[in-house]
């Protein structure tokens, strides 16, 4: 998945195309104008005409109503159902309607997560809906949606200590909560140092935009078994941070591999030792 500047020109389908799609898909009509971008093409792009239940009963998205810093908007997705072998959340898709490159990321879970919670930070470029869509292993889709007031997150200058950020690129930090218990979901925080350039940050001297350069893939395993995977876009804030759960079944090593748009690969390890 690559984003180009063309993405930011915002060529939304016309009203008639929108109307036609609504008729064709036969789905419910938007309650407000707020969903026009979603209904005008986003929904079809990512989910075709599959039914989506709008509900906070499977996952619930938590986001600030008004962001203090549009380049660092902390959000959390809370799973309302446990991850069991029979029934679990397989994928969570995070979409920010008004961002260039609306797909912020796709995040993959397994029963080994115990709970499919996810915490991360995103950029929000304009007032609009942020939506998380969960797909369960039986192929059903559930959407939780919040309206976030923020603007300029994608064109905001990156960080402040540019030199420190350059030196640190690719560095990773793992952290787990305490206590570590066999068979119990354990919270893991994975931090990746990366500027995650959007390509929309303009240099006024040269009148040129920085080249987009961002983390595209994240894969975390525990003793060789996948516990978290993601495909991500530049809507994730600088220094992407992921908080998720997995259920340890003994001592072992967490291993993370991160790949960015320039095909740079970074790895990190972390030893997990159960307390009992």
């Amino acid at each position: 998945m690559r984003y180009s500047l063309a993405d930011c020109t915002g060529n939304w389908p016309s009203f008639w195309l929108l109307a036609a799609m609504l008729v064709m898909s036969g789905t419910a009509v938007a309650d407000t104008e707020e969903d026009s971008v979603w209904l005008g093409g986003l929904r079809t792009t990512y989910f075709g005409d599959r039914p989506i239940v709008q509900s906070d009963d499977v996952i619930e998205l938590e986001a600030p109503e008004r962001a203090e810093d549009s380049a660092v908007v902390p959000i959390r997705i809370k799973a309302k159902i446990p991850q069991t072998e029979e029934h679990f959340i397989k994928t969570i898709t995070l979409i920010i309607d008004m961002n260039p490159g609306q797909l912020a990321g796709r995040f993959h879970f397994t029963p080994k997560n115990g709970r499919a919670d996810l915490g991360l930070r995103v950029r929000v470029n304009a007032y609009g809906p942020v939506r998380a869509i969960a797909e369960t292993n039986d192929g059903k889709l559930f959407m939780s949606r919040r309206f976030v007031k923020a603007s300029g997150g994608c064109s905001a200058a990156v960080g402040t200590d540019i030199e420190a950020a350059k030196r640190r690129m690719g560095k990773m930090k793992f952290r787990t909560d305490k206590p570590v218990l066999n068979g119990e979901p354990l919270a893991v925080q994975l931090r990746v140092s990366h500027p995650n350039l959007t390509g929309l940050q303009m240099d006024q001297i040269t009148q040129l935009y920085s080249t987009a350069h961002f983390v595209e893939k994240v894969a975390v395993s525990f003793e060789g078994q996948a516990v978290f995977a993601a495909e991500t876009g530049f809507s994730l804030s600088e220094n992407p941070s992921f908080r998720f759960y997995f259920v340890p079944d003994g001592a072992g090593e967490l291993h993370a591999e991160v790949i960015d748009t320039e095909d740079l690969r970074f790895t990190g390890q972390y030893a997990v030792v159960p307390d009992k």
Partner: protein
């Protein structure tokens, strides 16, 4: 762009500055002479772009010419400051010193331009203006309803990478470029004649400090600056002048609590969202605009401190 450590070359250049003729001054900024020849236009505590005249700005008059220290958040503010200068002296403006990149301090830059004026800033100021200028102009248009063209973002003619002495005529200003603190392009100005240290946004009083650089860097710098013997300091937001080093106390206390409590939350495994609900709320009643900037400061502190080794 000149990188300069010497003032002699400058002296030759400023002699050619012509004296301004009569000006159309509908509005003249009210300034206070806080020490002989040092004038300050006090700002009011408000959110940038929600209001005008937010920052403390001013100018210093020498025997030969005038140095402007910051120009305000709009062209009108710059014009009013220029009129204030004209109400006080006929000396030409030879230097415009931008203490840092923030729009409440530099969007009046164009209004104080005169032939031969040198714009002076920290060596990182040009980069910061290049990266943020467009966003500031957009916000000026959208939030403040004051559209400004790109000519209002003026890059420095002279960059200070360590220090620079400016002679205004029987008056020397010492400019010091600091390592990352409030921003990564903070400049302070010391007037030797009166012992006045113009700290701009390296010091906040009454108005909550705003972090746009490094919380650790800022604390370190304040500690070091305390040894500087100054008869008075000028904060970027707060009273027109204050006693040094006592004036540093509030900013230091706020930043220290923010640092300590954020470090605790990170060590406890709280994510940013949780930290925003708990960190340093003991400071709430001690500052104006706390609700506007505190949560943002927690983001700045957290995203810096989570990378500490």
């Amino acid at each position: 762009m000149l990188f300069c450590g010497s003032v002699l070359a400058l002296l030759l250049l400023v002699w050619t500055v012509p004296v301004m003729s009569t000006e159309d001054c509908k509005h003249t900024a009210e300034v206070i002479e806080i020490a002989a020849g040092i004038y300050m236009r006090p700002g009011k505590h408000a959110v940038v772009f929600d209001d005008e005249a937010v920052a403390n700005i001013g100018f210093v008059v020498g025997k030969r010419c005038v140095a402007v220290i910051d120009t305000g958040g709009s062209n009108a503010e710059g014009q009013a400051l220029r009129c204030a200068i004209r109400s006080v002296t006929r000396q030409p403006v030879c230097f415009v010193i931008n203490t840092h990149v923030h729009p409440d301090h530099m969007l009046g830059n164009l209004a104080v331009r005169e032939p031969g004026v040198f714009y002076i800033g920290h060596t990182n100021l040009a980069r910061a203006l290049a990266l943020r200028g467009t966003v500031y102009l957009e916000r000026a248009a959208q939030q403040a309803g004051r559209p400004l063209g790109p000519e209002h973002i003026i890059l420095p003619d002279l960059s200070v990478d360590r220090q620079l002495r400016l002679d205004l005529g029987e008056r020397v200003l010492e400019l010091v470029a600091h390592p990352i603190a409030h921003t990564d392009n903070d400049l302070s100005i010391y007037d030797e004649n009166t012992g006045t240290l113009w700290l701009s946004d390296l010091l906040f009083m009454e108005h909550i400090p705003v972090i746009d650089g490094s919380i650790k860097g800022w604390l370190k710098l304040l500690e070091a600056l305390k040894d500087k013997p100054a008869r008075r300091v000028v904060p970027g937001h707060g009273p027109v002048q204050a006693a040094w080093p006592d004036a540093a106390g509030d900013t230091q206390r706020y930043l220290s609590s923010l640092r300590d409590e954020t470090q605790e939350r990170i060590a406890e495994g709280d994510d940013l969202r949780e930290a925003q609900k708990t960190v340093a709320y003991g400071e709430r009643t001690r500052w104006q605009l706390f609700e506007n900037y505190h949560k943002r400061n927690i983001i700045a502190a957290y995203t810096e401190l989570e990378w500490e080794d």
